[in-house]
Symmetry: D2
Subunit: 237 residues, 4 copies
């Protein structure tokens, strides 16, 4: 399976704390365990030409991961539309953490995608509410992160097709933190954790979920659905 | 609107702590604010003849509330089937707290309806995750109960048609605590809080939710859907 | 309840066949029975200043109906964004027929909203698949239109929150033709029939569905959900 | 993957027309193409001891197919409960045609599962409404059966988690004919066609769907979810 991990890669350039945690960038931290599981993974970042997604990259991507935060507005509108078309044709999309406010996620959801947030080293426990779901295969009852940014409800997204994880925060909030959607032929998974100042993507449980998400989101092959003008097939009987 | 509040009414007979909180029984505590809002409310309990639901009671009930815990097994199977039929024909059903293990809820859900639980005076915060939903109209961001029994995921029920509330517990768990279902013509609302040793049903926010649930669950009037053998209507063209 | 019926109103200006069926325009044909049912209805059209939706019109609209076809591209992007914001805040939206390709519907759905179509005087039968739903209250088993444009699957929209009607066409196709969505606090209903060359909006069954849709889509009142930065409320215990 | 195909096998014993179409029984017609695809398939029938599902059969079954019609009432209630438990633990279940009225399907759905029907050699076209779904991978736009029994709406089942196929009948009806559910850890697929007097299970498109259904319904491995009494894990922080 061919995966592309896209990362804004800006925090890593200016915040020593983030550099210390992710010396090769968040994208490489996400990519490494996927590669180890046998997936074919490339990475792409905002400041590359065409944000690293030009040429045949999108056409050759079965699942795209997306991490962005500071610079959502710098992502080309044309590229966003290309990504959206590819998702509708069947490319999987895994949107991470602050990617909730990315252009691509907002375009596919149609809502504001707004939420509550707080940086206060909350403990986060992600509880599995769909125990038979392939994304959380083998995870157990919950995943605990000792410190993370808090995201709280109301999360303004469409009701998901499947709700897989719900987060508990020590400060008193909850959040729907693992959400599955189908749009066109494409599958979309939103996964909440991953603030840049915590080593979240080094956590084995998080890596396991991201691998499960890649496998779940990969397209079922098939032709483009027939649409447009449609003559009567034949008198049905 | 005609509402019937059904209660097992056993804890109240033998536990002085429960008697002190609900001297008229849990059913009367639930019924009183509904009556005050102008609804026509009767009550029924397990130890009445036919559990208080004989004769025309079910036929004259638009929304049935159900609280049970100790004696689910004593409820008549025939009555459970009558209640199920009435729900499928359009009677609303509001299942409360330990009613998750009632025969009627399990029969309508098809699953085990099992969950985690703990009596440890947890703080419970019920967060609104569907802010436009009529059941939580006017509630604000969340409802806090200073002490309640904990219920934790995985709650083994079908994915709800609408998820309205998610609970946070101070001990570290989450729970989907306000769930909407449609079965046949009937609407079902499951609402988590309400352990007998806490004054939950005296809480104004809880009373407001139960009133909203009664209004939401009330049947849309209409004839029974046509089913069974069906001749060709006429050559369609 | 305050309703605004928006219509492109272009076919009516140039096609005598459409003029004959809808001499006051499609918008007035839709508005008349809603007014008769006691709703407060204004109309608005594309060629009015600000498409007739400037000033306080949107703020004073609880449910907006939308009919467009030839000139989706002429609708102002700024207005579309304003309508989208109002839907997310709670305004109901009823999208009619060829409005499936309107900017506002596509923005809220996130998908292509494409489908099959054919103008061949197909018979259309709209079958009720959710008999207890308030939009189809009192409708019976199905609604038959003697001649309509055909729309066929695959209709590229998100899986609806509730599927209320499915159409059968004499030429051999089916279509999900009554779809309910919630986005933010707002409710959206898509209703398939209504091609300009047929007297569909004069059909009493269609008028009944549109009245039901207006009532269903009207907002539950309530404040804007709290989002953004969120300090710890207080130590929960 | 280990599959068990269960069949009532009564029509085949007394109706020469059915014998001529399915000389080895409907179960063998269903099993053969699954075996050819490499699945490990056993069959079981009503009149075998313990309906052929005793001993370790259920424990060793990953996906169970179910065809029944005349003798739903003769299926042991205890067995039905065992099958239900296995589904909730993760066994897939594919319910076929008149199995809509089987005890096991009704127990898992909670509704009447009633519908309209007519034996009149209707043409049936099953349209794909979820083109990216693995069950209909490679199927194209629709599947046409030249003659089948008609089933019509309203089909009294819970709104499915995913609606995959919708049938068109030449006599004027529609039917939701490919429905996906999750209950507990188990996946359930209902597939409409398959009346005993038509050679439906010999149709390559039908066989392809049944193979897709077997693969989709197979359980994700994993331990039983933790439920019941649950002490506080530890002070979360």
């Amino acid at each position: 399976m061919r995966v592309t991990v896209w990362n804004e890669n800006r925090h890593e350039q200016k915040n020593p704390k983030v550099q210390a945690i992710y010396p090769q960038g968040i994208h490489e931290a996400i990519a490494a365990p996927l590669r180890q599981a046998g997936l074919e993974v490339r990475t792409a970042t905002l400041d590359q030409p065409q944000h690293g997604l030009g040429g045949q990259v999108l056409d050759n991507t079965e699942v795209l991961f997306w991490w962005g935060h500071l610079a959502h507005g710098e992502v080309s509108d044309l590229l966003v539309e290309q990504v959206r078309q590819r998702v509708l044709e069947g490319m999987g999309l895994v949107v991470l953490h602050s990617g909730h406010f990315s252009k691509i996620f907002k375009a596919l959801m149609g809502t504001s995608c707004d939420l509550k947030w707080r940086e206060a080293d909350d403990v986060e426990r992600l509880w599995v509410v769909a125990p038979g779901h392939p994304i959380v295969e083998g995870l157990g009852e919950y995943l605990e992160l000792p410190a993370e940014e808090m995201y709280g409800e109301h999360f303004d997204v469409p009701e998901p097709d499947e709700l897989v994880l719900v987060s508990w925060f020590s400060g008193g909030e909850v959040f729907r933190s693992g959400l599955c959607y189908t749009r066109g032929r494409g599958r979309i998974f939103y996964f909440r954790p991953g603030h840049e100042t915590y080593p979240t993507y080094h956590h084995p449980g998080v890596q396991q979920i991201l691998l499960g998400a890649a496998r779940w989101a990969a397209a079922t092959p098939g032709p483009k659905p027939v649409r447009g003008h449609y003559p009567t097939l034949r008198p049905p009987k």
